[in-house]
C-alpha cells in the first residue's frame, strides 16, 4: 500500500498527504482565505460564464462565513478532526469545492478527489486556490490542502482512506457502497451522501394569484432546480404536489411558463431517447399514472392517481410526476428516509416543517423555496457538516 506512485495521482493543489494539524472551526485564517478566494474568483472576468463558480464564490465571502460562524457558536470548544478525505461527484462540477470548504471550515486538513472529468470549473478553482496559497499569510494553510485527480483506483482510495480522520463520500448508493468496502481507521468518522428523492409542493392559489413577472420568476427558479442539472441532482424534484382546489387551472399557468423558461435547455438526441424510455418504463411499471402530457420532448408530465409507490417514479431530463392533494398530510404515509428536499411555492415553511417533525416522518431533511433546491450549505442531508467533521473538547 505504501508504494502509491505519483504517476497515478495528479496533484492539482499540494504535492502530498497533508499532515493532520487541526484548527478550530471557522478559524480566522480559513475565513480570511475564503474571503480572498471569493474576491479572486469574482474578479476574474473569465469566470462569469460559470454561474456555479459565482455561486461558490458568493458562498465563500467573508460576510457569509461570519454569519455561519455566528450560527455555529454553541459555547463548546472544538477542533477539526485532523485529515478529511473527500470523494466528490464527477457530474456536478463545483461540488468538490464546497466539500473542501466544509472540511476547512470544520478545521481540517484536506485531500479532495476532484472529478475525473475535465470540467473547466475544476481548473478555475484549483488555480485560484494554488495561487492564493503561495501568499506568505497563508503559509500555515498551504500544507493542509491537497486536491487530487485519479481514475477510479481502490488502491489509491485505500491509501487516503487508511490515513484519514474523516471521510466524506458524495454520490449515489453504488458509489457509497463500493467506497465503504475500503476501510478507514477505527477512530475515523464518515459522512455519506447517498441517492435521495425530492419533491416540490406548490399552492395552486398562489400560482393563480401571481402576476406575470412573478410567474416568470417562479418558472426560472423551477428551471434552476431541475433542468439546469438535467433534473438529476438529488434535490431536483421528481414529484410535484399541487395543493388547493384549482390545481388544474394552476397547472395551465405554471407549465407553459416553465416551458418558456426551459426553451434555452438543450436536449441532445441521446437525451430524447433516454427520456422517452424512462417515461415508457414508468408507464409500464404501474397502474397509477392516470395520463401523460408531453409538450414536445421538453416537458413530460405524468398525473398520478395515488402516491403509494411514488418513489419508484424518479424523473430525469424533465420528467415530472404530479399529484393533486387536498393537504400535504396526504404524503405522510409515503415519505421514507430516502426523501431529501421539499421545495415549496406559496406555502408556509413553518407549517411544512411541522408536517415533517409533527408527523414524525423518516425523511425530508430540507424545506426550501423553489429556486433554492440546489443551494448547498453546511447543513446538508440532515447533517451539520461542520459539526460532524469537528470534535468537542469538553472540560
Amino acid at each position: 500500500m505504501k508504494n502509491v506512485t505519483p504517476d497515478h495521482i495528479v496533484w492539482l493543489v499540494g504535492d502530498g498527504l497533508p499532515p493532520a494539524r487541526p484548527m478550530p472551526p471557522y478559524s480566522d485564517v480559513v475565513c480570511r482565505f475564503l474571503g480572498e478566494l471569493s474576491r479572486d474568483l469574482l474578479q476574474n472576468r473569465a469566470n462569469r460564464e460559470f454561474p456555479d463558480v459565482a455561486a461558490f464564490a458568493f458562498f465563500c465571502r467573508r460576510g457569509n462565513t461570519e454569519k455561519l460562524k455566528e450560527g455555529f457558536r454553541d459555547g463548546r470548544r472544538r477542533l477539526g478532526r485532523g485529515l478529511a478525505f473527500h470523494i466528490t461527484p464527477s457530474n456536478i462540477p463545483i461540488n468538490f469545492a464546497f466539500s473542501l470548504v466544509f472540511g476547512l471550515l470544520a478545521g481540517n486538513s484536506n485531500v479532495v478527489r476532484v472529478p475525473t472529468k475535465d470540467w473547466p470549473q475544476v481548473g478555475i478553482v484549483c488555480r485560484a486556490v494554488r495561487e492564493l496559497l503561495t501568499k506568505p499569510e497563508y503559509g500555515e494553510l498551504a500544507p493542509l490542502i491537497s486536491m487530487v485527480r485519479y481514475e477510479r483506483s481502490d488502491e489509491i482510495t485505500a491509501y487516503f482512506s487508511g490515513r484519514c480522520d474523516a471521510r466524506v463520500i458524495w454520490g449515489g448508493d453504488e458509489a457509497v457502497s463500493s467506497v465503504r468496502k475500503i476501510p478507514i481507521p477505527p477512530r475515523a468518522v464518515e459522512l455519506t451522501f447517498a441517492d435521495r428523492y425530492s419533491c416540490c409542493a406548490i399552492s395552486a392559489d398562489a400560482v393563480l394569484r401571481a402576476g406575470e413577472d412573478e410567474l416568470r420568476r417562479l418558472a426560472d427558479a423551477f428551471y434552476n432546480d431541475t433542468f439546469l442539472v438535467d433534473q438529476n441532482a438529488c434535490s431536483s424534484p421528481s414529484l410535484i404536489v399541487w395543493l388547493g382546489a384549482q390545481a388544474q387551472e394552476a397547472r395551465g399557468r405554471f407549465w407553459p411558463a416553465v416551458e418558456r423558461s426551459a426553451s434555452r435547455y438543450r436536449l441532445e438526441p441521446a437525451h430524447a431517447t433516454e427520456k422517452y424510455t424512462l417515461l415508457c418504463d414508468c408507464l409500464a411499471s404501474g397502474e397509477d399514472i392516470r395520463r401523460v402530457t408531453m409538450s414536445g420532448n421538453l416537458i413530460y408530465r405524468a398525473e398520478l392517481s395515488g402516491v403509494g409507490g411514488v418513489e419508484a417514479y424518479r424523473g430525469r431530463l424533465g420528467v415530472f410526476f404530479e399529484y393533486d392533494a387536498a393537504s400535504i398530510d396526504e404524503l405522510a404515509g409515503c415519505v421514507t428516509n430516502k426523501w431529501q428536499t421539499l421545495s415549496y411555492y406559496g406555502l408556509d415553511a413553518e407549517e411544512l416543517a411541522a408536517f415533517v417533525t409533527g408527523g414524525r416522518l423518516s425523511g425530508i431533511d430540507r424545506i426550501v423555496p423553489v429556486g433554492a433546491a440546489l443551494d448547498i450549505g453546511v447543513i446538508w442531508d440532515g447533517y451539520d457538516i461542520v459539526s460532524v467533521l469537528s470534535r468537542i473538547v469538553s472540560f
Binding site: W170, C234, A272, T277
Partner: protein, 361 residues
C-alpha cells in the same frame, strides 16, 4: 388480424406509397390491438401515452416503443411456455442486452420475410453458401445473440452451408478452398457481419498473401460500420478491398436489428436502404418526435409487420438516419428508401450519483 401469408406472397418491393399506406394502416392497427390485449406493459404504455385507435389517420400515428425498453423489461405477448428462442443483443459494448422473445409463429415469419426480401436481390435459387463466422456462435439453440440469429436466418437461403472461421476466428483455408473447388463455376452466396468479414476474412487473406476465386460470389453483410469507422474504412473501401482479395463484385449491405429480425432493409446498387412490403421507416425530430421530411436527419423509427410474440412492431431506435426518397429509387424498387448515419452520440447527463464511476471493460 391481417393475413401474413398474403403479404408474404406479394412482390416485396412492388407496393407504391398509397397501396402500402392502406395495407400498413390496417395491419399496424391489428398488431397494436393484438399486443395491447396480450402484453400488460405494452397496454399501460400505449394507454398512458393517450393512444386512441379511432383517431389514427397515418402510419406515423401509431405509438412507438423505444428500443432501450427491451433492455430494461421483458416485453412479451405470448405465454412463456410458447417461447422457443430468446434473441439478445448488447447494442453498445458494456450496456445491458435487449431480450426478444420469439414463438414458433414469429420465428417462421422472420425466415419467410428474410427469404422473400433477399431473393429479390440474389434470385430464388438456393446457392452454395459460405458463412464468414464460426459455427460456435450457434452453440446454444435456445438463446441466441443477434449474430447467431442473423446467421441462422440467412443460412436458410443457401445450400452446402459452410462456416469458414474456426473457434479461434482463424480462417479455415482448407475448408474454404475445398468448398470453392466443389462449386467451381457456380454462383456462390456469402454472408457475414461487416466487421467479421473485414477482420477475419479480408485481413487474413491479406496477411497470407492469398487470393480466393470468388468472382461469382454475392455477399450480404450487415451489423453496422461502427467498428470499421474507427479504422476509417468506408463502404467503398470495403468493397474495393474485397474485390482485391477474392474478386467479389456483388456486395450488399443491409440494416437490421435484433428487435426486428427478418424484415431487414437491403441496400441496393444505388446505395439506398429499402423498405419492403414487410417493413417501413420513419425519421423523427428528436426535439418533439415530429416526422422529418426527405433529406432531414433524425431518429430512425422502424416498423415491421412480423412481431407477434413481442410488442416490437413499431420501434424508435437509437440510430440516426434520413429518408432518401419514396417510390423513386433508380433501381426500380418501390417504397421508402433511407440512409443510416450511425448511433446517436452519447450525451453527458449532469447529476450527483456517480462519484465512484464503474469501470468499463
Amino acid at each position: 388480424m391481417f393475413d401474413f401469408d398474403e403479404i408474404a406472397s406479394l412482390k416485396p418491393f412492388a407496393l407504391d406509397r398509397e397501396a402500402k399506406e392502406s395495407l400498413f394502416l390496417r395491419a399496424l392497427g391489428d398488431l397494436t390491438a393484438f399486443h395491447r390485449q396480450r402484453c400488460g406493459d405494452y397496454r399501460r404504455i400505449v394507454d398512458g401515452l393517450g393512444f386512441d385507435a379511432s383517431r389514427v389517420r397515418d402510419v406515423l400515428d401509431f405509438p412507438f416503443i423505444p428500443a432501450g425498453l427491451f433492455k430494461m423489461r421483458d416485453l412479451s405477448s405470448v405465454d412463456r411456455s410458447l417461447v422457443i428462442k430468446t434473441v439478445t443483443s448488447s447494442g453498445t459494448t458494456g450496456q445491458a442486452a435487449s431480450r426478444i422473445f420469439l414463438d414458433r409463429n414469429t420465428a417462421a415469419s422472420q425466415t419467410k420475410a428474410l427469404v422473400r426480401i433477399v431473393s429479390d436481390f440474389i434470385g430464388n435459387k438456393r446457392l452454395p453458401m459460405l458463412i464468414v463466422d464460426s459455427r460456435d456462435v450457434l452453440k446454444n439453440r435456445a438463446s441466441f445473440s443477434a449474430r447467431g440469429a442473423g446467421i441462422l436466418g440467412f443460412s436458410m437461403l443457401g445450400r452446402d452451408v459452410t462456416y469458414i472461421l474456426d473457434e479461434r476466428m482463424d480462417l479455415d483455408f482448407n475448408a474454404t478452398e475445398s468448398f470453392l473447388e466443389r462449386h467451381a463455376g457456380e454462383d456462390i452466396l456469402l454472408f457475414g457481419f461487416t466487421f467479421m468479414i473485414w477482420e477475419y476474412l479480408y485481413k487474413a487473406l491479406r496477411r497470407a498473401g492469398k487470393w480466393l476465386p470468388i468472382e461469382r460470389g454475392v455477399m450480404i453483410h450487415g451489423g453496422g460500420w461502427k467498428k470499421l469507422q474507427s479504422e476509417a474504412v468506408s463502404p467503398d473501401a470495403f468493397k474495393d478491398a474485397l474485390r482485391d482479395v477474392c474478386g467479389l463484385r456483388r456486395v450488399y449491405n443491409y440494416y437490421g436489428t435484433a428487435e426486428q429480425t427478418g424484415s431487414i432493409f437491403m441496400e441496393c446498387c444505388e446505395g439506398r436502404l429499402h423498405c419492403s412490403v414487410f417493413s417501413d421507416i420513419a425519421i423523427r425530430d428528436h426535439r418533439d418526435f415530429s416526422p422529418c421530411q426527405v433529406g432531414t436527419s433524425g431518429l430512425i423509427e422502424m416498423i415491421s409487420l412480423l412481431p407477434r410474440s413481442y410488442p416490437g412492431h413499431v420501434i424508435l431506435t437509437e440510430d440516426l438516419g434520413r429518408l432518401t426518397g419514396i417510390d423513386d429509387c433508380p433501381c426500380g424498387r418501390l417504397g421508402k428508401t433511407f440512409s443510416v448515419e450511425g448511433r446517436i452520440p452519447r450525451a453527458e447527463t449532469r447529476g450527483c450519483s456517480d462519484t465512484y464511476e464503474k469501470r468499463h471493460a
